[in-house]
């Protein structure tokens, strides 16, 4: 069966510091991969998606970037965090029309 991992689970970072969040998927190959952010107030916003190694599409302009160095690894990064980057970051994998989510990383920028 497929599993998806995210780390770290929680993170507190000062403004201006770099960020690296990692997501890995097991038990499947060539999945679509997605990064979402959930700010306070519930809504999920799609940030990036990837259909293959090195292929990244961005949904919204922002302070973040994503990379897919391996088939089942998806990384979310920032060179300098802003206060507005705080939130709950969720990684998901998908095949066809269904998506499955990881446990998330709660990021607080202070």
């Amino acid at each position: 069966s497929q599993t998806i991992h995210q780390w770290p689970a929680t993170l507190v970072q000062p403004v201006g510091s770099p960020l690296s969040l990692e997501c890995t998927v097991e038990g499947t190959s060539n999945p679509n991969l997605y990064w979402y952010r959930q700010a306070a107030g519930r809504g999920l916003q799609l940030l990036f998606y990837s259909v293959g190694i090195g292929q990244i599409s961005s949904e919204v302009p922002q302070n973040l970037s994503a990379s897919r160095p391996q088939d089942r690894q998806f990384i979310l990064s920032s060179k300098k965090l802003l206060l507005s980057d705080s939130g709950f970051y969720l990684c998901a994998w998908g095949r066809g029309n269904e998506q499955y989510f990881g446990p998330g990383t709660r990021l607080t920028v202070t």
């Binding site: 679509n32 997605y34 959930q38 519930r42 809504g43 999920l44 799609l46 998606y49 259909v51 599409s57 949904e59 709950f88 969720l90 998901a92 998908g94 066809g96 029309n97 269904e98 998506q99 499955y100 989510f101 446990p103 998330g104 709660r106």
Partner: protein, 110 residues
Amino acid sequence: GIQVEQSPPDLILQEGANSTLRCNFSDSVNNLQWFHQNPWGQLINLFYIPSGTKQNGRLSATTVATERYSLLYISSSQTTDSGVYFCAGPTLSGYSTLTFGKGTMLLVSP
């Protein structure tokens, strides 16, 4: 892209009560998913239901694609049903991206 509206935004139930959550979408869809976000933030897949009716224990879902809505039924609610329920439909831009509604926050009290 597609618009997804959920109602009600908040719902409080006594344990044992039944409820119906609704999801309206602005355009015809070929896939529709329901998720439950538990208090720890994990998004759990409930149903992939582009049309018709499915049941899983006390939960069932019906999608009427021609009328652009889906319903999630929760029967004999339990405190563990508390959390936020999201529906999501396909974004028209492709690559199996999803657009989420803002969710229904359910609180089941003992």
